[in-house]
């Protein structure tokens, strides 16, 4: 039986962490989760086969730590991997975790009826089979550098005994997705929509119970409120603090702040094609030299400073520093507005009618920049860019759009420029989706600016295909340089994420791509506990 031991008695075991967020999970069943917050919660509830190591290496299986899988065996041809499950692992309803559960996790992702948004992530896997009750085998179409990552990280086992008979076409309406039974360190307690999700430690977790008793995700309607709750002591942790609020948190004796890097990078992306006649280049931004001149006109360091103070750096190229590939060897376009003006003059863009805006052949140097209404930092950047480009005679109008409206325009490629940011997977190959011709041709690809450079494409392809990590890195660097020189987008900043938390909490393993990876190891020393830490494991009154 599950002992309801008085918690807090054993040193650092016990306590409640309230995580403040402005986002609500969408579902709590891994194959259909799309939102980051859904993923965060489900990562506490559902265990993976293996976990990526602290080095964040996604190539091969190096550094991966066993979770549900005790160990794994590669087939000689590397086209299949057999995962052997830990026999101690069990679902929160007491049933053991079996190979069929792994297969169920994969099948749900692949079933067209489910329409899983995760399907592309497991596209390389052909199938998952059950060799015996404790051994599941993943079969691949072809070999690749991150094939292990794909199965171990992306195929998440789910309880087949509970999901075997669900209506897959209506999975989203199934009670399970809001009331899940998992296999991870925390068990699900309740989910009050728009208010909270509550998890409690599974004291029978086979790898040892988490130190915390309870994790509550407290959902605020907007980011400001979320921060406010931390500052007011109503919550204990927030994943990101910036500017003003960071300064406040730093001053607060009850709070700690912690930098943990991040994988996001933001950029000003140009549409290289004419938004009205897709066959033609953009009348202003289609010219590489114009783009370079614009880049030269932007004081990106000052912009980053204004928005993030010291908590952001200008990226080296189209990949975050945390992936460990891009570095200072990449040649940058310098900030030099005088040179930018000269360059524009020589390109024939001159202000002939004295309105402060350059024109060429009657076309004014004018374009609009889209920015989502939901992102304050990006809106701020837009205003800064607008003013700086005005200084060199370029007229920028800001198109602040509701997120959905923006998506619609991106889909039809009907825009001039856009301030965007990516949160890439921890593998460099994700650049394909976002910046190569492959990403521009399909309507749902994410290369919205239609940057189609054969040189860049070839460099990326060879880097992705490379089996040697070192060689891959060189190839990637070369591709990044091509990108910077062509300036299809101007990299703006790469924020250094700073989490804020109550000083009570001993934070462990805030991973750049998933700050929640270490929650099971977080703790609160007995001496520093407050009311809510003393609830213990007892269930809610209702």
């Amino acid at each position: 039986g599950r002992g309801d031991r008085a918690s807090g008695s054993e040193g650092d075991v016990g306590g409640t962490v309230v995580i403040s967020t402005a986002a609500e999970p969408d579902f709590l069943l891994p194959p259909i989760i799309l939102s980051a917050m859904g993923k965060m919660v489900s990562d506490q509830l559902f265990e993976r086969l293996a976990e990526i190591g602290p080095k964040m290496n996604a190539m091969g299986d190096e550094g991966f730590e066993p979770r549900l899988a005790r160990h794994w065996t590669w087939a000689p041809d590397s086209l299949s991997i057999a995962f052997e499950l830990d026999p101690r692992a069990h679902w929160h309803d007491g049933k053991p975790v079996r190979a069929a559960d792994v297969k169920m996790g994969f099948d749900l992702m692949r079933d067209p009826k489910v329409a899983s948004p995760q399907a592309p992530n497991v596209a390389e896997i052909d199938s998952v089979t059950v060799r015996d009750s404790l051994t599941a085998v993943a079969w691949y179409h072809r070999r690749s550098l991150d094939q292990f990552f794909t199965a171990a990280y992306n195929v998440i086992p789910v309880p087949a005994h509970l999901l075997g008979s669900v209506d897959r076409a209506n999975l989203k309406a199934d009670p399970f997705v809001r009331n899940p039974v998992g296999s991870g360190p925390f068990r699900f307690v309740r989910w009050v929509p728009s208010q909270l999700v509550e998890l409690v430690a599974d004291t029978t977790y086979f790898r040892g119970r988490p130190k915390l008793d309870r994790v509550v995700v407290s959902i605020a309607p907007d980011p400001n409120t979320a921060v406010t709750r931390l500052l007011a002591g109503e919550a204990d942790f927030i994943e990101v603090l910036r500017g003003e609020q960071l300064a406040q948190a730093q001053k607060d004796p009850k709070l700690q702040v912690k930098q943990y890097g991040g994988v996001d990078y933001a950029f000003l992306q140009f549409n290289l094609r004419d938004p009205k006649h897709h066959g033609r280049p953009h009348p202003v931004l289609g010219d590489r030299n114009v783009r370079v001149a614009l880049a030269m006109a932007l004081d990106r360091a000052a912009i980053a400073r204004n928005v993030y103070d010291t908590l952001a750096t200008v990226p080296f190229g189209p990949a975050p520093r945390s992936l460990g590939i891009a570095d200072s060897t990449i040649r940058q376009i310098p900030y030099d507005s005088a040179r930018a003006k000269r360059m524009l003059d020589s390109l024939g863009w001159r202000d002939s009618n004295g309105d402060g805006i350059r024109e060429k052949n009657g076309v004014p140097l004018r374009f609009s920049v889209m920015v989502p209404g939901s992102s304050r930092p990006r809106q701020r950047v837009a205003v800064l860019i607008q003013e700086q480009l005005k200084g060199v005679g370029a007229d920028v109008t800001i198109d602040q759009l509701d997120f959905n409206a923006m998506i619609a325009k991106l889909g039809t490629r009907s825009f001039d420029a856009l301030i965007n940011s990516w949160h890439p997977d921890p593998t460099p190959s994700s650049i394909r989706q976002t910046w190569t011709s492959e990403g521009s041709r399909t309507n749902d690809g994410s290369n919205f600016g239609s940057y189609e450079s054969p040189v860049f494409d070839a460099q990326v392809d060879s880097a992705v295909a490379s089996h040697d990590a070192k060689q891959a890195r060189t190839l990637y660097l070369r591709a990044y340089q091509t990108f910077v020189d062509d300036a299809p987008a101007i990299m703006l900043y790469e924020p250094n994420l700073v989490a804020g938390a109550s000083k009570r909490i001993r934070l462990v393993n805030l991973r750049p791509d998933a700050w929640w990876a270490g929650i099971a190891q977080w703790s609160i020393p007995a001496g520093e506990r407050i009311d809510r830490d003393r609830i213990g494991l007892r269930p809610a009154a209702r």
């Binding site: 003003e244 300064a247 400073r305 204004n306 304050r376 701020r380 003013e387 409206a405």
Partner: protein, 284 residues
């Protein structure tokens, strides 16, 4: 009494003796002038960012009486320019809604019968949707709307009350004796409506419009606060507050001054509207 003592000049004379009304009108004139003349008298250009690293979010000082904002822009200048937008949007949208409301209400009230009943049922329904929600829906769904569209939306959602008011007055007046007298003289319906009914029906509308300007200033500010009103870099009092509300602890001045501008404007328009209503009240 002088030869010109129509109802309006009587009202004007009464207003001139009302100290509160004078004060309110003066406040409105000052705010309006500051807004109108902003390009001439504002100390700085409205969008210039002299030093985004060194001069951002400076507290009020001699050089910047209202301080600077996160972009190192002068808040006083922004508040003056914001007034152009806030007051301009309010005045124009009220003008629009008054026009529509008057036309609609006048037709309904004059025609009467089933047409009137149907027209008024529609108004009932439209009045049942909270205006904020309607605007939220329209503005948020369409995303980027410019100032003209914003004015249009505010105008198009603001006339229901006016139409009711006008319809009631027109209904009463057009069945009243002087309208009947005009008809007995052989005046056409258009003439009766235009010359006899409408001028008298408009008195409460003008009062309502005065009070309404305050409402729209607040409404525009609320929409901008919700992030769907006037879009940057256009300054409006609402979106300056919105920018400022994020800096409330380190840059309280950014939100405070436009907030005060709104408060003064709305109080002034309310006082003026009340005074106008009193001055036009024939019972006094």
């Amino acid at each position: 009494m002088s030869a010109t003592s129509g109802p309006w000049s009587v009202a004007l004379r009464r207003l001139r003796r009302d100290r509160v009304a004078i004060g309110a009108a003066a406040a409105i004139v000052i705010l309006a002038l500051a807004a109108l003349l902003a390009p001439l008298i504002a100390p700085y250009p409205p969008n210039a960012q002299p030093d985004i690293v060194g001069m951002a979010t400076l507290p009020p000082s001699g050089a910047h009486p209202f301080g600077t904002d996160v972009f190192s822009r002068d808040v006083l200048t922004r508040v003056m320019y914001g007034g152009r937008v806030s007051l301009g949007v309010a005045v124009l949208s009220i003008a629009l809604s008054i026009t529509i409301g008057t036309a609609y209400g006048a037709v309904a009230g004059y025609v009467g019968g089933a047409t009137e009943a149907a027209m008024m049922r529609l108004i009932d329904a439209l009045l049942a949707v909270p205006r904020v929600l309607l605007l939220l829906l329209a503005l948020a769904l369409w995303g980027a709307v410019g100032l003209p569209a914003l004015i249009l939306m505010l105008g198009l959602t603001g006339w229901f009350g006016t139409s009711r008011l006008v319809r009631e007055r027109v209904r009463a007046l057009s069945r009243g004796e002087f309208a009947l007298a005009a008809r007995a003289l052989g005046a056409s319906h258009a003439r009766v409506l235009w010359r006899h009914v409408l001028p008298s029906a408009l008195t409460p509308v003008i009062v309502a419009a005065t009070l309404g300007i305050g409402n729209v200033v607040v409404l525009e500010a609320s929409l901008s606060y919700l992030g769907i009103g006037v879009r940057p870099p256009n300054a409006s009092w609402g979106n300056i507050i919105q920018e400022g509300s994020e800096q409330i602890a380190s840059g309280w001045w950014i939100a405070l001054f436009p907030g005060l501008a709104i408060l003064v404007t709305v109080v002034a328009f309310n006082l003026l509207g009340d005074a106008l209503r009193d001055a036009l009240d024939p019972r006094k």
